[in-house]
Symmetry: C2
Subunit: 342 residues, 2 copies
Amino acid sequence: MPVTIKDIAKAANVSRGTVDRALNDRGGVNPDVAAQIKAIAAELGYKPNTIAKALATHANPIRLGVLINSLGNPFFDKVLDGIRHAQENLRDFGINVEIRKIRGYDPQRQLHEIKLLRDTDIDGMIITPVSDEKVRSELNSMIRNGIQVVCCNMDIDDVNYQAYVGCDYYCSGQTAGEIIGTTTHGEANLAVITSSHALYYHEMRVKGCESVLQQYPNIHICEYIEAGDDEDISYHEVKRLLKQNKKIDILYFVTGGTTGGLQAIHELDQEERLKVYTFDQIPAVIDDLKSGLVVATIDQQPFAQGEISLRTLFESILSRQTPARKRIITELNIKNRYNISY
Amino acid sequence: MPVTIKDIAKAANVSRGTVDRALNDRGGVNPDVAAQIKAIAAELGYKPNTIAKALATHANPIRLGVLINSLGNPFFDKVLDGIRHAQENLRDFGINVEIRKIRGYDPQRQLHEIKLLRDTDIDGMIITPVSDEKVRSELNSMIRNGIQVVCCNMDIDDVNYQAYVGCDYYCSGQTAGEIIGTTTHGEANLAVITSSHALYYHEMRVKGCESVLQQYPNIHICEYIEAGDDEDISYHEVKRLLKQNKKIDILYFVTGGTTGGLQAIHELDQEERLKVYTFDQIPAVIDDLKSGLVVATIDQQPFAQGEISLRTLFESILSRQTPARKRIITELNIKNRYNISY
DNA sequence: ATGAAAGCGCTAACAT
DNA sequence: ATGTTAGCGCTTTCAT
């Protein structure tokens, strides 16, 4: 039989209330007694019963805020699905989730939304942060005020968050490089379509790929396009590129802009001679995996990222403990036309 | 505020006890009243609070048995890890798990163990069943006696189980075929190493691969080896094959026997000229992904299979409902040297 | 600072 | 067949 608060109370000769106060640092208990109680709890190997805890807390549910750059980006819809799934599973635990979606990566806009969410009196927040000084300090100030933060999909330096949940960007680039290398026969010219060299994590995908392609000297990286995560720009830039540089055989789409780029290829009727490598399983990619234009895509488990983010945040608030690992890295999975999973 | 048993009791003008009895079909309640109560519950959109349910049931925990063919098979160790992980997470819900491991796929042996487990008075069982008439009827008899069954990793026909949790074998074969096709340049000769043509699900992996390779006429399947899921046999057979047929360029390992086969390749110093494709991320495969001998391996998420099996079984017993889907298919994921996840 | 007791939603044993 | 009540482990309010 597991040890309960009752057992500790008996062993320490105090009431259950005092044990609860001591163990959860609620204050109003003699420091010596508290120490004594904690010692006994440790000795007995006490583990609080999450179920009972949740049932008792049920009256005033934990309030969580979610701020995701999902508008116009189908990838983040899956992250949201994961969040909602976790929310549904945690329903009985007493949980209250307020989701706000925004478009794009403008720091000002994000900062504004963060403040709005913060003022709704939440216990924790899930966010895909942009690397910006003001965002950074706003998040740190929230954390100091007891609002716990979990970063989902995008990491950010110098923020004292509870956890980062997302992929290893450099590794995803390496993985892409290896697929490109093993599936390319003979000489080939490659173009990279990225968001912006300034976006550190996306740039890691470029670097990772480059490092592996050094081992495949038959593949020449000869163009870099910055499309700013914008489908329109990507569409026009890819069109321009393909008209201008007829030697391109391979397109490597690092992030947002894939849908626009694929459309450009179709309009120019270049499906036959081109090979494309992408990330994530968004609708346009799935279509072109089936058509054969996209050879492979690398999935980073957006659903799991959402689900784990919410679970982690919830548990760390409920248990008042920081998660075991600060960086929770989701698996990278290669998908071809036969093992698509959405 | 969610609706509770109390609300239903008030609306139906009966006591909470009666509502509980009616909703859970415990008997001893007037059929008309029961129907009335159920109608009200449905109308109010009542969802039982799992947390409270678990807390109340906590005194007599749910007892589960697990029968896994894990001995000598590192793949199944990961399935077990998943089971243990779920067990740990469900600890507070009141759960009791008895795990028995056996070696190989002998029906007699499995039947014996099933009976032993059944007699320990369990509420449910997780099993990797072998396709055998006696196993089939024993499982069905258990199910009729109220012991719920979840099949993990291996499906079985004509058994009225709660769920099958595992991969789609045919699809995994197709996925392998596509990788082999896209990463092979020029003419190539392929050898298939399988357990036995009689094992239906493993044979599906062969068929799936063959169907895709028809689109790659440069690849010729010229040898089939049956290694009976035995590392020793596989080792010797692969050695024999490589000595005898010098034209082989590609080895496709369908299942158990991979470790032995890889060892044979190393001993014959054939790493340079051969390319190998495998399933799962077992230690030997990971080593040879890194060494470059194995081009890619297909993972079927053994950890998730274990974890989901236990969760599904537990939930269906606790909630007295059959799971939403009877076949829970785990994702197939391609792994190369850069995105290995174990 | 500490104790006592009510209550979270549900189950199960005991009454009627 | 139905109602009443104690209790699962924990939190929280109210006394002391």
